[in-house]
């Protein structure tokens, strides 16, 4: 888990993306034990709840999604997989919008120790884009 905490920023494609002013896109969820990811179209700040992800224990994600052109941001899906073993989770998360770009994803379980890839699908305007973040659980 420590390695994941250290990896604060992971960009799937960060080229040419000017960071918005903090006032435009709240990044509070990304601070401390959270993470921030950004791409050409979107910026996602999130943290797990509970803060420490334990192998085999259900957890949620609290997310904040912004888009570059201030299109309405929509969180389409949250999923995770172990790329090394090519399997996903045994549980399908559900997403609850909380307004103003905030979302909550419930029902995630990382059932094995090791490297997980969190896949967050965001709709910015007409495009859906996947932002991925790596988390190592022990």
């Amino acid at each position: 888990m420590r390695r994941a905490l250290a990896a604060l920023l992971v960009a799937t494609s960060a080229s040419g993306w000017p960071l918005p002013a903090a006032a435009d896109c709240p990044l509070d969820l990304g601070r401390g034990t959270g993470w921030v990811m950004f791409s050409e179209r979107a910026i996602v700040a999130f943290r797990p709840e509970p803060l420490r992800i334990e192998v085999g224990q259900p957890f949620s994600l609290l997310l904040n999604v912004c888009t570059r052109r201030n299109d309405p941001a929509e969180l389409v899906a949250v999923d995770a997989q172990m790329p090394d073993h090519r399997h996903g989770m045994n549980y399908r998360p559900t997403i609850v919008p909380a307004g103003q770009g905030r979302f909550r994803a419930d029902g995630l379980v990382f059932h094995m120790p090791g490297r997980w890839e969190l896949d967050i699908d965001v709709r910015a305007g007409s495009e859906v884009e996947r932002l991925s973040h790596e988390i190592i659980v022990k």
């Binding site: 085999g56 259900p58 073993h85 996903g88 559900t94 419930d106 029902g107 059932h111 120790p113 090791g114």
Partner: protein
Amino acid sequence: MSRWRALLLVVTLLVGAGAEGWAHLQWPEDEVRAIRAHGPWPPPAPVDPSNRVSGDPAAIALGERLFNDARLSGAGTMSCASCHQAERNWSDGRARARGRAGLDRRTPSLWNVGQGHWFGWDGAADSLWAQSLRPIIDPLEMAGSTGHVAALLRGDPTLGCFYRRAFGTAPGSDDEALLVDAAKALAAFQETLVSPRTAFDDFRDALVAGDLAAAARYPAAAQRGLKIFMGAGNCNACHFGPRFTNGEFGDVGIPFFVRPGEVDSGRLGGLAKLMASPFNRLGPYSDDKSGASALRTRHVQRLHANFGEFRVPGLRQLGDTGPYMHNGHLATLQDVVRHYSKVSPDRLHSDGVPLVRPLGLSADDQADLVAFLRSLAADPPPRPPPLTECGAG
């Protein structure tokens, strides 16, 4: 963490290895962390919010009586204890259980069953009480009936007395509700079946506390076996945590044909049964009105990969009471280790890095792994005698 720091934190144990002389085993910080995850033991007592009598002493007493009461079965000849025998680690020593008819699966041990979240080899039940209800009315197992169990609770003065103490009212007129209550008392009893502390637990605690002298008392063969378990064997990918199971499902290459042309689909069929059951955590009989404890049931998904998957069994208190696996396919712990050493990769279709692959262990390595598995068992302390008199209270 830098390499330098890792080296500084390496723990070296000087181990007396009997006739082999002294063996040095090193436990770097990341391995100590992995070992730490297999404890502490015993774990905190489980509390199941879907069962309002979970942890209640009167319910435990009622559950223990019911567990040993053959009158729950249709013919009056079979109790839970006929298959789940205390002196056989709560199993029966058979490859496949025998109820009213022969079953296709082995009777699992009930040690630490209260810590689980999916029950049965296929996880068809999402609570201990729902799992405990099934064998009573299953025509292949005890072949009892709802009305019959309800009549027993209403008619037997001692059972009725314990029922009143546990549930706060006399047995009511709703037969199905009484059957569920009987199952909840059975669950409360089974939650008390906690396997004893073992040589491994002393080692784990000593290592975590940095007490190397105490840690060195753990036999060298078991220590070497533990290295294989966490290292080359990758066993703790699935056999994770204090019970040595992540509570989920896997396919380790055990044949799943039950008869020529007929397979046990394992988890895939289990999920279908779970969703169809009126006794799951989403149904009216859960006492957790918040629904929070139904989280896994709400979110679990049925995947093609579930075909032929079976629940990852815990590895505590296996002892030498085989056979092992969901269908008793392997007779001894040596056979299990040999299986993981030689398993055919063709049988385990995996596109990525396989979780289970033929390990090709030497005879010495296999013996060490068996020594480690044995170190997860100890003599259980005698059970306190069950309450026989209900009395007032």
